[in-house]
Structures are given as structure tokens and as C-alpha cells.
């Protein structure tokens, strides 16, 4: 078995879904070929067993020839053992084929998502990408898995048809035409069944969402006493789902019965013809038993062929989705001739707003209207879809530098910043070079209490999206992460909006010290933070209208004073 995951998933051909599937198949052709080879031998073993049984009955039992009987029984045993061996080998190759395709898709998706970065949410919904992980990987895996069995099915079908044709042209033709014919008979029932099943699956999905809501909403329900109403609603949905299930059962049971009837009818026809030939002396009693065996066996390749058709269609749909994602290009490209990043100690300038942040200073930004703050932060961090050359560091426009250099120099941590799962210490130390800075940063963010409450400290596993922490705790951890990265320029958006006044006061006092000598921009409207920075810039409609200390601005700018203290709108 090959080692997975692959070190490099490669560069996919994503021009069309079919090319993608072909690219994928080519990449794993060795295991596909192995699976096919074993699949062919495995199915052929099953195909010839009825013939051997028929001979055994004719030449061994009926002829009362003990040595022939033992020989044929031995042959049956040998074929059976070969079938068991090739069966498990085929299965092992099939699993490998499935896994290579599925894992490779996961790796491609993950790598491309990180490559796209901020472009991703602008171009494609989260649900699209999550669907790749949820269902598409398994569809792509299945088509690789079933292909090996499919080739075995074709070979064994031809094998049986040839054996039968040698015995009788009529019988051979009956098999060659009858088996595909049976497929077509079941066809018309399949689409209404799929429709009803899809309707039931939809209801089941909704029902599952409703139930899952309990987990997130139990506290809310308990707060307002909505448990009974919720349960009544769930029961209504549950009963609707049950009725949809009964609708499915009405059709499904017919299909189940047809799967008994149609092959049965085929068996009856083959045995009837065979028995008449036997009466006429054209075939032996053992041949008759063999015919019965063939007609029963042929249902297996038949089912495999249908399975392959279904899975191929689904895999094509999945490949389409994967291709759509892989075809997305990042919004920004590195310039053809990138400029060298400025030396340490460069001033940050935003020409559009007139904001100048001298190197090594901590500047707070207050904006009116307040939503301008987010836009300014995006601009400073080159997170806009169309970055502007108006932002420069030490005279070098950010757009003139390599994206990687900009990310290293300027880090933006906004209110939407996500906390990822994994070991807490690793998630905070994003560069891997933080060392003691992590503990120091946690202290600055006044997050020591969070660490103390964790039984395993920095070794604690953070759950998905940091859900095990409260909003206020997450915000402090995100701040600590940004501080640990210790970039030349740090842009913080409302870093303390979800923490209490006591904690905010502590963060404000420690932040400046922690960032001494580095450039820091904080957008905030909190008096506690504003009072702790070197300088405050007040922006109205996107332009700096006043700069100074918090105390200066409180005195000189009535609009600033109204905004920051919110005297006019205090809760009544």
C-alpha cells in the first residue's frame, strides 16, 4: 500500500470536469490497473463456478465416478480460494483508489483555499467548499473504486456469454440481450423513486438541523421558556418526515419486489429453455444446473454496471464543483518587478485619508461614520479586492511589494478574525518563533485568567473555531496571537469591544509597553484605549480632520467628544 497523504497533490487539470477526472485517474493508474486485474480474476472465478459445479454433477455424481468427483470438488475449492484471495486484493486496491482520490481532492481544496486567502469569501460561498469535504470527496473516491469492479463485470459478462453461445446460440443471445434489457425495465421506476428519496432526505436534513439547534440554543430556550413550543414544532416536522418516508417505502418496496421478480423471470426463462434442450438430449443435467447458476450470477455484473453509471454521473457533478474552485485566481498578483521592502523604522502613510503613522508610535483612529474604520484597516493591510497604491511604508507603495513581504511587515487583526483549532500554544504562535513571547502576549491581552482556567495550559486543544471560549475570551486570545506575531506594523480593529471595563483598562495600560518601538494602529471608540495611545487621529468622512492626544481632542473637538463619550445617547 502506498503512503498517504501525498507529499504534493500536484497541479490539477481543471479545465473541464472530464479532464479533471482523467488527470486524477492518470495520477493513480498503477493502483487502478492493479484493482482492475484483480477485479477481472475475481469476477471470472465467480463466473466459471456454475460450470464447474455442472461438470461435477455430470461427470462425478451422475457418472458415479469418485475420482472425477474428487477432482472437480478440488477444482471448486481451488477456484473458491482464488476468488477469496483476489476478492480481498481487489478490495484493498479499491480502498486505496478511493482514498487517493478523496485525500488528493481534500489536499487540493485546502491548498487552493489558503492560496486564495481573502479572495475566497468574495468569490465563492463557504457552503460550496464545505460540500467538497462533505460529499464530493466520497463521490470522486467511489468512481475510482467502482471502475476496477466495472472492468471485472464487463469481462465476466463476456465470458459467460461466450460459454453460453458455445452451448446454444439462442441461450447466448437471450443472455446478451436479456440482461441489458432487464436494466431498462427497472429504469422508469428509478426517477420517481429518486425524487421521493430526495424529498425525504431534504426533510431529514431539515429535521437534523432543527435538532442540532438545541445544542446552540438550549440556553436561549431556557432563558425564555420556549422548550414546549420547540418540541411541538419538532414533532410536527418529525411526523412530516415520517410520512415522506412512507411515500418512499411505497415505491421502494415495489422496486425491491421487482429486483426479486425480474432476475427470477430471467432464471425461469433460461431454465425453461435449458430443460427443453435437456429433454431433447442436447445438453446434460449438469449443464442445466450450470445455466441456473449463470443466470443467477449475471445479476452481479448487471448491478455493477448500473452502479458505475450512477457513480460516474455523480463524480462528474463533484468534479465540476472542484474545478470551479480551482479555477478561481487570487484578486491580487505580485508585481512583475517587486520592490524591496523598506528598512525597519519606516513611517506608514495613507494618502487617501492623510493618515500618517510615524515609525514606532501607537496611533488610535476614531472615525465618523464608524464603519469607515474597517475600510481603513483593510486598506492599510492590503486586504481590499483592489488594493491601492495610496498606502505606502517608508515611501514604498504596498502594492509594489511582494504579497508575502507585505503580510510579514503588516498584520491586520479585525473583529472577524478567526481562532483555529489545535494546540493552543501553536495557534497563538503563528510564526513558530514566538517562544516566550506567547506568555508575554497573553499577559498584555489580560488573558492569563483564561490560561489558568485551562487544565492543560498551552497544551489545551482548541475546539473548532475556538467555540469552547466565550466571545470575550476569544477576542483576547486573538489579540494575543497578533501580538505574538510581533510584526513591524500591527493594525488592530476594536480589539477590546467584547471585554469588560476592568480588563479593558488593563489591556490599554499594557499594550503600549508591549508594542514599544513598533508601529501600531488601533481603531477604537473606547476612552480607556484612546487615553493610552501616543496620538489619536479623528477621521470624518474618510479624511483626517484632527490629531492630538485624547485629552486634547476631547477639549477641542465637540464632534469627537460626542462620539467617544456618547453623552447624547446614554441608555435611559
Amino acid at each position: 500500500m502506498i503512503a498517504l497523504p501525498l507529499a504534493h497533490p500536484g497541479t490539477a487539470d481543471h479545465r473541464t470536469p472530464l479532464r479533471f477526472l482523467w488527470w486524477m485517474a492518470r495520477g493513480q493508474w498503477r493502483t487502478l490497473a492493479g484493482g482492475m486485474a484483480f477485479g477481472i480474476v475475481w469476477m471470472s472465478c465467480q463466473a466459471v463456478l456454475p460450470a464447474v459445479l455442472g461438470r461435477a454433477i455430470d461427470r462425478g455424481v451422475a457418472a458415479r465416478d469418485t475420482s472425477a468427483l474428487v477432482a472437480f470438488a478440488g477444482l471448486m475449492l481451488a477456484i473458491g480460494l482464488l476468488q477469496a484471495f483476489t476478492g480481498i486484493m481487489r478490495h484493498r486496491f479499491a480502498v486505496t483508489n478511493w482514498l487517493v482520490a478523496a485525500y488528493r481532492t481534500v489536499q487540493l481544496t485546502g491548498r487552493h483555499a489558503t492560496h486564495l486567502g481573502g479572495t475566497l469569501p468574495r468569490k465563492v460561498s463557504t457552503g460550496e467548499v464545505v460540500a467538497i469535504g462533505n460529499s464530493d470527496i466520497s463521490h470522486l473516491g467511489q468512481v475510482m473504486d467502482v471502475s476496477a469492479r466495472f472492468s471485472g463485470a464487463i469481462v465476466s459478462f463476456v465470458l459467460v456469454a461466450v460459454i453460453l453461445l458455445q452451448t446454444s446460440t439462442t441461450l447466448g443471445l437471450l443472455v446478451l440481450l436479456g440482461v441489458p434489457g432487464l436494466m431498462l425495465l427497472i429504469g422508469p421506476l428509478l426517477s420517481p423513486l429518486q425524487r421521493r428519496s430526495a424529498a425525504q432526505r431534504q426533510l431529514l436534513g431539515d429535521l437534523s438541523n432543527t435538532a442540532t439547534d438545541i445544542v446552540g440554543g438550549l440556553r436561549v430556550l431556557r432563558g425564555i421558556g420556549g422548550e414546549q413550543v420547540f418540541l411541538d414544532r419538532y414533532k410536527r416536522e418529525s411526523q412530516a418526515t415520517r410520512r415522506a418516508g412512507v411515500e418512499v417505502a411505497r415505491l421502494q418496496s415495489v422496486l425491491d419486489a421487482l429486483q426479486v421478480f425480474l432476475p427470477g423471470l430471467f432464471v425461469v426463462a433460461v431454465v425453461w429453455l435449458g430443460a427443453r434442450y435437456a429433454v431433447e438430449g442436447r445438453i446434460s443435467a449438469g449443464d442445466l444446473v450450470a445455466f441456473y447458476g449463470y443466470s443467477a450470477f449475471l445479476m452481479i455484473p448487471l448491478r455493477t454496471a448500473t452502479e458505475f453509471a450512477n457513480k460516474f454521473i455523480r463524480a462528474k457533478v463533484s468534479a465540476t464543483r472542484v474545478c470551479r474552485l480551482l479555477a478561481i485566481e487570487p484578486d491580487t498578483h505580485d508585481p512583475a518587478e517587486p520592490a524591496d521592502p523598506p528598512a525597519t523604522g519606516a513611517d506608514l502613510l495613507d494618502a487617501r485619508s492623510g493618515l500618517r503613522v510615524p515609525a514606532g508610535r501607537m496611533v488610535a483612529v476614531v472615525t465618523e461614520p464608524s464603519e469607515d474604520a474597517v475600510r481603513l484597516a483593510d486598506r492599510l493591510g492590503m486586504c481590499d479586492p483592489e488594493p491601492t497604491a495610496e498606502v505606502s511604508l517608508g515611501g514604498v507603495p504596498l502594492t509594489a511589494m511582494r504579497r508575502a513581504d507585505v503580510r510579514r511587515l503588516v498584520v491586520v487583526s479585525d473583529t472577524g478574525a478567526a481562532l483555529f483549532s489545535g494546540r493552543l500554544g501553536d495557534r497563538l504562535d503563528t510564526t513558530g518563533e514566538g517562544g516566550d513571547r506567547v506568555v508575554e502576549a497573553l499577559r498584555t491581552a489580560s488573558a492569563e485568567d483564561i490560561l489558568q482556567a485551562l487544565p492543560d495550559g498551552l497544551d489545551t486543544q482548541v475546539t473548532e473555531r475556538g467555540r469552547s471560549f466565550s466571545g470575550g475570551q476569544r477576542q483576547r486570545l486573538v489579540l494575543a496571537r497578533a501580538l505574538t506575531a510581533d510584526p513591524e506594523v500591527l493594525v488592530l480593529v476594536e480589539p477590546t469591544s467584547a471585554v469588560d471595563a476592568h480588563t479593558e483598562a488593563r489591556v490599554a495600560a499594557r499594550l503600549r509597553q508591549a508594542r514599544a518601538g513598533r508601529t501600531t494602529v488601533v481603531t477604537t471608540s473606547s476612552p480607556l484605549l484612546l487615553d493610552a495611545v501616543d496620538e489619536v487621529a479623528f477621521l470624518r468622512d474618510g479624511v483626517v480632520v484632527a490629531t492630538g492626544t485624547h485629552a486634547d481632542l476631547l477639549r477641542s473637538e465637540p464632534a469627537y467628544r460626542a462620539l467617544v463619550t456618547r453623552e447624547a445617547v446614554a441608555t435611559s
Binding site: M1, P5, I57, S208, N209, V271, S370, A417, L454
Partner: protein
């Protein structure tokens, strides 16, 4: 965040009791399903017997008419088997859907009655697994695995009986298959469940990592986390591969041992039958029929064996779903009626983890119509006290009463007419907007009441321009509400629930600053005429409250009006000065 406990899991006897009880509730469906399956299987057994007759007739020399008669009989049995199969499948699927609906409704009812504290100490992950993966697994088991397995058992038993009817000697070759079957199966089943659970957990993990990478794509770029994310995904794939390799190893041993246990009886039946035929003790037809029957046994036995691990997992899921019902209730309804609206906490102590109190004897009286603000550092116990005041947790010692009656003595429905809690989590439930609001409405509330509540919190404007108004589907997967809108929905629920006392736990803290002012107006409308306990980290509300309680280290450290506390020069005064004057 402290040591995790898990929700209970039902044991074997409890599981059996539940299954028997369930079966007793639907005797007619159950027995007709079983009866129909037995008859269908019997009809299916005619074919080998008739084929044996044919072979014998051919060997002895016969006429075409005789052959046609046997074939007609064969076709007749096929039609009967088809019809019986149709109704057997229908009845058992209807029964399965019925049972499944009862199971999940019971489970949701029990989950809704869980004490919040229990869910929190077990972690929401445990309950989430039960509501999603376990309900799905059980659905699969009840809808597919259980009927298939039952049919396979019925078919196998009858086929074996039919084989025996050919002659007692058929037992001997069949016995040959038993040792590899039993040994292989026991070995496999002892390992399969954990292996497959690990496998499916590894795919959930891949999905979780992929999802958070995609959702946090902006952060990934901003902090240059690309390489770390790629490594995390590869790690998940590596774990998944290890889990897959383990189960593959199990199957590599198990499948061949099963194949051999199926093969041996067929070959042995042929050999023994052939020997007995040469001795003249059985006919050629008997040998054919017996061999075919033994071969026919393979399919149902294989299904019995391969569905067993599925059933094992279904039973484990059922045990976890039933376990939720075993959590003891933390409320005890006494039937006493409150005589007033005043809320009193006396000597309240409380701990999440035994031996580590977070509240150390709190006394607090809140007058009717009073505005009380609670401030204090994170982790001081403000939120915990708020939840005790809202009757979410029972105090370890002491009491929280309304009108002289303990909050945990009131039935949940009554409690919410007295005190309601609003937190910073403003969960939007999946469903229509109307359903979201109806959760809090008293029975018989009309659309006018709902619209009135939305109007009171200033939300009617945006609701009216939604594509389907009140019928718009919101929540996960539906129309996305902004945080501010979600918060307004939460507030409108309060208007509908209409309690005389409200506990606000940092209710507006996570709101985008640009929406805060608008929301404060909505909130003011809800607070009108009620007693309010506000846990706040912004000091505006403290300034305007009738009294301020400073909570520090699980105690009320300072209590008085804003002016009194500022004058007293304690920790509140210090904070106020630094915050306000700058």
C-alpha cells in the same frame, strides 16, 4: 473549561426494556411484517427444489409437457414471492419510520429537559454528536440494517430447514463452515466498532478543519497562516489514513475467513452427496437440491454477518440517545405560588466543579421596578450570579426566590413569566421568523402580537421588506440576519414572553459598534416597566442604573448608587475616573 464529564449512556438492560416496550406498542405491524417475510422466504425456496426435480426428471427421461408443468410452477412461486416481498418490505419500512419518529421525538424531548449546567460541563460536542451523528446512525440502522438483517435471518433459517428436509446428512457439511465463521466474526466484531467510529470521526475532523480554513480565509491570509493550515489538513488526512488502514487490516483478515467458511460447506455437500449417491442412499435430484440450498445459504448468512457491525453501531447510538433521559432533573416543582415580584438572593453559594465555589455567599435584594447594574472583572462571577438570579442553575446552598418561592421550585413555563435571561448569544433557530418568535409567545398568540413585539423593538421595518416577511426562513442555511437583527429578534421574544424581571448578561456586547445605538433604543423599549438586572462592561448603563453592584471574587464587594460609589472612592470610583475623564 474545567474537567469534562460526559452525558450518561444507557446500559444493556435499559436498552432491552426500551426495545421490548417499543415492540409492544406496535404488535400488529410487527407481526404482519415478520409473517410476510417468512412466507416470502418460503416461496423463494421452491426454486432449488423444483430444479432438483427437473434434473432428476431429465436424467430419468421425461416429456416436454412435464418440464413445462414444472416451469409453470416455478413461475407461479416467483409471482407469489414477488407479491409477498412487496408487502413485507412495505410493512416493515412503515414500521421502521414509525419507530424512528418515536425514538427521535423522545430523544429531543429529553434533550430539551436537560439542565443547562449538565450540557455545559459535558461540553456541547457530546450533545451535538448525539443529535446529529447518533440520530443519523440510528436512522440508518432502523430504516435499512434492522429489516435487512431480520429478512436475512428468516431466509437463512428457512433455507437451512429446507436443506435439512432433503436429508439429515446436509448438517455435516454445513458444520464445517461454523468454526471459521464464529472465530472470524468474534475477532472482527471485537475490533470493528471502535475502528469505524475512529474512521468516521477522522472524516468529521477533515471537514471541520477544511470548514474553518475556508471561513477564516481572510485571517489565514492576514496572518500568513497558509502553511500551517495546509499542514493541519495533511495531519487530518494522515490520521484518517491510519484509521482506514486499521479497518482495512481487519477486513483483510475477516473477509477471506468468511469466504472460506462459505466455500467449505458447498464443496463438502457435493462430495458427501456424490458419495451417498454412489452408495444408492440418495437420488441425483437430492444431491443437486442440497448443493443448491447450501449455496443459497451463502447470501443470507453473508448479510447477517456483514450487517452485524452496523447493528452494533446502531445499538451504541441508541444507548447514547436513551442515556440523555437518565440525567437527573435539577428542578423540583413544589406547587407553591409566588406572592410578589421581588427577587431575593440569600447566602448564595455555587460551584461548577465540586469543591471550587465561584460564588461565596451572595446576598442581594432587587426591588420591583429597580434598575440594578452589575460590574466587575472577568471571571468574578457576574454571569454566574446572573444565571442563578434567572433560575438557570440551582444554588449549591442558600436560595434565590421570587415572591418568597424558590426559582427552581417553579415549573419552567411559569418561571419565564417571572424572570427571563438575555445573553450575548443571540441564537437564531432554523425555521421561519414567525417560529423564532413564537418560541417565547404564550399559547394563542396571533400574528398581530408577533408584529407588535417586532414593532416595539423597532424591527418591523426590515422584517416587512424581507422576501417572505414573517415566513422568511432564517437560521443556519436560511436567510442570514445581521447580528443587530438577530439581537432584535431576541429582544422581541422577550416582549412576547413578558416577564416582570429581566437579567441582561452583556446583552449588547458583541454587537457591531455601528449598530449599538439603534439597538439601545430597541432595548429601552423592552426594559420599559420591568425590573432589570444588567451585567455590563460598558459603564454607560451603570451610570444610569438605580444601584450598582460591583462583583469581585464571587462576592458583592460594593453596592449603592453611582454617585454613592464614586463618592466612596472604591474600585468602581477608580474605574469610572480613568474611563470617563481621560
Amino acid at each position: 473549561m474545567s474537567a469534562r464529564t460526559t452525558l450518561p449512556v444507557a446500559d444493556g438492560p435499559a436498552l432491552r426494556r426500551y426495545a421490548v416496550d417499543l415492540a409492544r406498542r406496535h404488535p400488529r405491524l410487527l407481526w404482519s411484517a415478520l409473517g410476510l417475510h417468512v412466507l416470502a422466504a418460503v416461496a423463494g425456496l421452491a426454486a432449488p427444489r423444483l430444479l432438483g426435480n427437473l434434473v432428476e426428471a431429465v436424467e430419468d427421461g421425461t416429456t416436454t409437457q412435464h418440464v413445462d408443468r414444472i416451469i409453470l410452477l416455478l413461475a407461479g412461486f416467483l409471482v407469489v414471492q414477488t407479491l409477498l416481498t412487496r408487502f413485507a418490505r412495505l410493512v416493515s419500512q412503515v414500521l421502521g419510520e414509525q419507530v424512528l419518529a418515536e425514538l427521535r421525538e423522545d430523544f429531543v424531548g429529553n434533550a430539551l429537559a436537560l439542565p443547562v449546567g449538565t450540557v455545559e460541563s459535558a461540553g456541547s460536542g457530546d450533545l451535538l454528536t448525539r443529535t446529529s451523528r447518533d440520530v443519523d446512525q440510528l436512522g440508518w440502522s432502523v430504516r435499512w440494517a434492522l429489516p435487512e438483517w431480520t429478512i436475512a435471518v428468516v431466509t437463512a433459517v428457512l433455507t437451512f430447514a429446507a436443506a435439512l428436509s432433503v436429508g439429515w446428512w446436509v448438517v455435516l457439511p454445513c458444520l464445517l463452515g461454523v468454526p471459521p465463521l464464529v472465530v472470524g466474526l468474534r475477532w472482527y466484531l471485537a475490533r470493528a466498532k471502535d475502528g469505524y467510529l475512529r474512521e468516521s470521526a477522522s472524516y468529521s475532523q477533515i471537514n471541520a478543519t477544511l470548514t474553518e480554513t475556508v471561513e477564516g480565509a481572510r485571517t489565514v491570509e492576514a496572518l500568513g497562516l497558509g502553511r500551517e493550515r495546509v499542514a493541519a489538513i495533511d495531519d487530518d488526512v494522515r490520521e484518517s489514513f491510519a484509521a482506514e488502514r486499521y479497518t482495512l487490516r481487519l477486513r483483510t483478515v475477516f473477509f477471506p475467513s468468511m469466504e472460506i467458511s462459505y466455500l467449505l460447506p458447498v464443496v463438502a455437500t457435493l462430495l458427501l452427496g456424490g458419495y451417498l449417491y454412489t452408495q444408492g442412499s440418495v437420488s441425483l435430484g437430492d444431491v443437486t437440491t442440497a448443493t443448491l440450498y447450501v449455496q443459497m445459504l451463502i447470501d443470507p448468512v453473508d448479510r447477517i454477518v456483514s450487517i452485524l457491525d452496523e447493528l452494533q453501531m446502531g445499538a451504541a447510538s441508541l444507548a447514547r440517545l436513551l442515556g440523555v433521559a437518565q440525567v437527573p432533573d435539577d428542578r423540583e416543582v413544589s406547587g407553591r405560588e409566588p406572592t410578589g415580584e421581588d427577587l431575593v438572593a440569600s447566602d448564595v453559594r455555587f460551584s461548577y466543579v465540586e469543591g471550587r465555589d465561584v460564588l461565596h455567599g451572595v446576598d442581594l435584594e432587587v426591588g420591583v421596578g429597580e434598575r440594578l447594574a452589575m460590574v466587575g472583572p472577568s471571571g468574578a462571577g457576574k454571569s454566574t450570579l446572573g444565571r442563578l438570579l434567572a433560575g438557570i442553575h440551582p444554588p449549591r446552598t442558600g436560595a434565590v426566590t421570587v415572591g418568597g418561592v424558590g426559582l427552581v421550585e417553579l415549573p419552567l413555563g411559569d418561571l419565564r413569566g417571572h424572570v427571563a435571561l438575555v445573553t450575548q448569544e443571540h441564537h437564531v433557530f432554523v425555521g421561519t421568523l414567525r417560529e423564532n418568535l413564537a418560541l417565547a409567545a404564550p399559547p394563542g398568540a396571533t400574528d398581530d402580537d408577533v408584529r407588535g413585539a417586532l414593532d416595539a423593538v423597532d424591527a418591523l421595518d426590515w422584517v416587512d421588506v424581507l422576501p417572505d416577511g414573517l415566513d422568511t426562513v432564517v437560521g443556519s442555511g436560511g436567510h442570514t440576519l445581521t447580528d443587530a437583527q438577530a439581537q432584535q429578534v431576541a429582544l422581541a421574544r422577550l416582549v412576547l414572553a413578558d416577564p416582570h424581571t429581566l437579567v441582561l448578561d452583556e446583552a449588547t456586547s458583541l454587537i457591531d459598534p455601528r449598530a449599538a445605538r439603534h439597538l439601545e433604543r430597541s432595548l429601552a423599549a423592552v426594559l420599559e416597566g420591568r425590573t432589570v438586572i444588567a451585567i455590563a462592561h460598558r459603564l454607560f448603563s451603570a451610570h444610569d442604573a438605580d444601584r450598582v453592584a460591583v462583583v469581585e471574587d464571587g462576592k458583592v464587594a460594593e453596592l449603592g448608587s453611582h454617585d454613592e460609589l464614586v463618592a466612596a472612592g472604591g474600585s468602581y470610583a477608580a474605574l469610572w475616573r480613568s474611563w470617563h475623564t481621560g
